[in-house]
Symmetry: C2
Subunit: 567 residues, 2 copies
């Protein structure tokens, strides 16, 4: 480290230590949140010297450029620190442009009474670094932009107030998730992303392959050395026949061992040559196909068809049946041609799995988890939640408070159908009757209107649920549950798993599913089977629920959907 750098670091450290402010350990500055996020709004820091870094949100020039007022944001919180730069500190007139990056050092002072948005502002003493912006070209220069517009600027949109608040809320929900499960002694398990099993046909799957690049390599090779022709093949075959006849003849003539051995060797060489020709004739620029039709995946990376996972549940069950409490948190995929505001081709899911737990335990765990997430945001992200509530959804904070503090309603599917059939003041688009799955409009009616809080619907008809869900004693329903919440509808789906070997095999047969691909899953029931349950929470749904935003493409950094996979 150069001497200058050491000195700069020492100075910054001294500044921060003297001021008693939280130090951004690896970047020679203090976080703006550690000033403005204090209970006193920073008032207790008046007179202290600090160094901050960040980007200009807005800038104004006063007194013919003698004074520049900058709103500086470093991403640590939604609030900006007002920075005042006199032209004696730097004459740089470019600082005022939105997006300019600055590192600046100065004294925390009291704003004038007349302009007191915040308890402190920073009087610059040194401008240490500037990353300028050409305001005429900057695509998100000053002004408010629609979320739709920003979706075409995915590499810059985290610089806006909304998307950066969403990023911090998303971060908080992710860490809250780990904290909740770790506190309850669940073990985090990384289930595979590339998979060769299909979780109950949960949806269309993406295929993972190296066959295209292999085909392109072959195409290149063929371009340089062409494949053999039919004539080459005939010639190679003729050579084998000739050598074979020679061997036969020598044997018939009872020639010496050495002579015969030499001829046999020649025959083998001819055979090898023929095999090579046959092999090379198969080389095409295309994708190999099986003789009986269909693609031939034996040459693919994994020697078979492989896909992107749609759920880690089946795999994580193997760990639940030994570590007892486990969870996954990873990306999942659906190759569905869906253009709605609620679906993505790539999204993140949390899937806990609990041994020794039945459906009631599962509901208890899921309810506690969702409540924990809401309380966590209230405790750790209040400023961002206030921002989202003000700008996007004035019910967002109240919704969090409600969910954090109110027991969820719980009704069986059968009761839910009864409730829906009682509705007289409207007509649902999707008809209601026992045996059909609840549509989004039904789910939202139950959560938003009837109960006005989260509601857990459980014991669904077996015919609309997956094979692995535990059969109830009535023979008609399975021990499944969904948590429906205001704003987004279904947030959680879970079930007790069928732990009885014979019942599970029977279910597979009923559904005409082959048992062979599930032998490993059946092994969990064959050897030391255990009552167990689990659920899945769609992480982006939870971020939508918290932020109050409408479009799922705005709550994941780089959304993937049909036709779109930028960067």
């Amino acid at each position: 480290m150069g001497e200058g750098a050491v000195q700069a670091q020492m100075e910054a450290l001294t500044l921060a230590t003297k001021s008693g402010i939280e130090w951004a350990k690896y970047s020679h500055r203090v976080f703006i949140k550690s000033i403005l996020g204090r209970p006193d709004g920073g008032a207790g820091l008046l007179g202290h010297n600090v160094r901050v870094g960040g980007w200009v949100k807005t800038g104004r020039s006063h007194e013919k450029g003698r004074l520049t007022f900058l709103e500086l944001n470093d991403g640590s919180c939604p609030a900006n620190l007002q920075v005042i730069v006199e032209d004696t500190v730097t004459p740089d007139a470019q600082l005022i442009y939105t997006g300019t990056c600055l590192v600046v050092e100065g004294e925390l002072t009291q704003p004038p009474e007349t302009a007191k948005k915040q308890k402190v502002e920073l009087r610059a003493q040194k401008v240490l670094e500037v990353g300028p912006v050409d305001a005429s070209k900057y695509p998100i220069a000053k002004g408010r932009h629609t979320l739709e517009f920003l979706r075409n600027l995915m590499h810059l949109r985290s610089r806006t107030n909304t998307i950066s608040s969403v990023a911090r809320i998303r971060n908080a929900l992710a860490f809250a998730t780990h904290t909740f499960f770790q506190q309850n002694r669940f073990v985090y398990v990384h289930t595979p992303i590339i998979t060769t099993s299909d979780c109950e046909g949960a949806g269309e799957m993406f295929q993972v392959t190296t066959m295209f690049s292999e085909a392109e390599k072959r195409e290149k090779e063929l371009a340089s050395t062409p494949a053999p022709t039919e004539a080459d093949l005939e010639q190679a075959k003729a050579e084998v026949t000739k050598c074979g006849e020679t061997v036969k003849a020598l044997k018939a003539e009872k020639k010496s061992k050495d002579e015969i051995a030499a001829a046999v060797l020649k025959l083998q060489t001819a055979k090898d040559e023929l095999a090579k020709v046959v092999e090379r004739m198969k080389l095409t620029g295309g994708i190999p196909k099986k003789d009986k039709g269909g693609f031939d995946y034996t040459g693919d990376f994994f020697g078979r068809q492989a896909f992107l996972t749609v759920s880690g549940q089946l795999q994580v069950e193997t760990y639940a049946c030994s570590l007892s409490n486990v969870y996954t948190f990873g990306p999942t995929f659906r190759a569905e041609n869906s253009h709605t505001t609620r679906h993505l081709a790539e999204f993140w899911m949390i899937e806990p799995e609990l041994a020794f737990a039945d459906l009631q335990d599962d509901m208890n765990c899921a309810e506690d988890y969702v409540k924990f997430l809401c309380q966590w945001l209230l405790d750790n992200c209040y400023d961002d939640m206030e921002f989202m509530t003000k700008m996007w959804d004035n019910t967002a904070l109240d919704r969090l408070k409600l969910v954090a503090s109110t027991p969820f309603a719980r009704i069986t599917y059968t009761q839910a159908i009864e409730k829906l059939l009682e509705v007289k003041d409207r007509t649902f688009e999707n008809p209601v009757s026992w045996g059909v799955d609840l549509a989004s409009e039904h789910e939202r009616y139950l959560a938003e209107e009837l109960f006005q809080k989260p509601v857990i619907v459980y014991n669904y008809p077996k015919d609309i649920k997956a094979f692995y869900m535990r059969m109830n004693d009535d023979g008609k329903t399975v021990a499944a549950m969904d948590i429906l919440v205001p704003k987004v509808g279904e947030l959680v789906g879970g079930s007790q798993r069928e732990e009885r070997y014979e019942v599970l095999v029977q279910r597979l047969q009923e559904l005409n599913l082959p048992t062979e691909p599930y032998e490993w899953y059946l092994d969990l029931r064959r050897y030391g089977t255990v009552k167990h349950s689990g659920f899945g929470l769609g992480f982006e749904r939870m971020v939508l629920f918290a932020t109050g935003l409408e479009n799922i493409r705005d709550v994941i950094p780089f959304p993937r959907y049909p036709g779109k996979a930028e960067f």
Copy 2:
């Protein structure tokens, strides 16, 4: 919840509350760790009644079956609880088989002096649930199995002591990772798994596609309704010509508007029909190709070639340039035909990115992070680490202690080369000279022999590093760094990123890389550019480093490598 279940839950809760033991909230039992993991080894709990669940590790029958001794494990810790079942409690002789699942309730009592491995054992009063095992078929019945053998039983191997310890250590390292970065106010960002950009050609990529399933759908459709023939095409063309001539004729004859309109309509219908035929003729069971050769991806899910990410770095930089401190933790992929003990096709990586930070800051952050991980395991996973040390690598615990407490050595690449050239007592397989990359043997020599602790090598020749690394003033080296550790060699690789627009463009040109795919990345330098740095830590490498195991396939639940993607 049935009445019986409610009562069972109440009883279990009462038991746990009375005993003051940590309660497994959602499964009516106490964790074995909360008994045996206490500082007193559970001695303070003598006389308390508890309920536990778990799987039998080993069982023995005594006094002609009057007494059964079971070692029960529930995955919460490596230690087993000894459970003693009298035949008056249950006459079930099957309990003793390895792998049997049990829920059992009883009193914690003092073991006899003669057999005192642990401070407490459980005298069963009730056996509530049994998941039996047919010992003659159970693939991992009693006895020790090699890790290689277990790799063919991926769904059962977490039931072994080693793989469950690895799972808990892995879990602890994951949570420690989040804790470290959250404590330092880094925002967790989910970078995309499916990507259309290539991080500096970090390696061969898997392609993600729906083209095979689409081709198969078309094949099915063609099987039911064959594609049109050339004759069909000619006929459709003739019809268009005929209708066109009719229109022309009618116009020439100045017929009525209605008459002409009718003929125009007929022409349009004929044209539509022709278009359909042309479209359907394109249907083949194969993968579409472009006229100029090469596959045509316009019909693929994303309308272009898409891949599995090899690194989230470039994408996460977009968030660092607004939120200042960020990190990723997600799966990454390499489609390399590599069969070593150090490579996987799917692995997890942590990639922090720090704004306002130079290479020294980057090294400080990476060093603190690795130290934090080691200390975390000492604080939170000592029992598992003791097990691994005893069974697999007697230096494992000492290595953690060393790394947690000793400053890492830091030398430039140039110094490292000098040190390696000074080595006289052996010959390296890979020749050493300034400008070549360090091979594994060099890395391990530096970390294991010369420094005998982690060593950070920095300022590498630009020609062996990626385009985005910041050019040093010498014009020959870039601000890159690798952390080399005993046991695994390279654990971390990082760099300061080139934040100067012109220099970055020049680097791209030098390397003959097109700028177009990097325009978005260049935008980060065009608008409010900021000094920033980051690094990547291979998570499985860290688990190898901690556990002391040799093969990376044993430290991830479901390893993927050429020819293998089970489940």
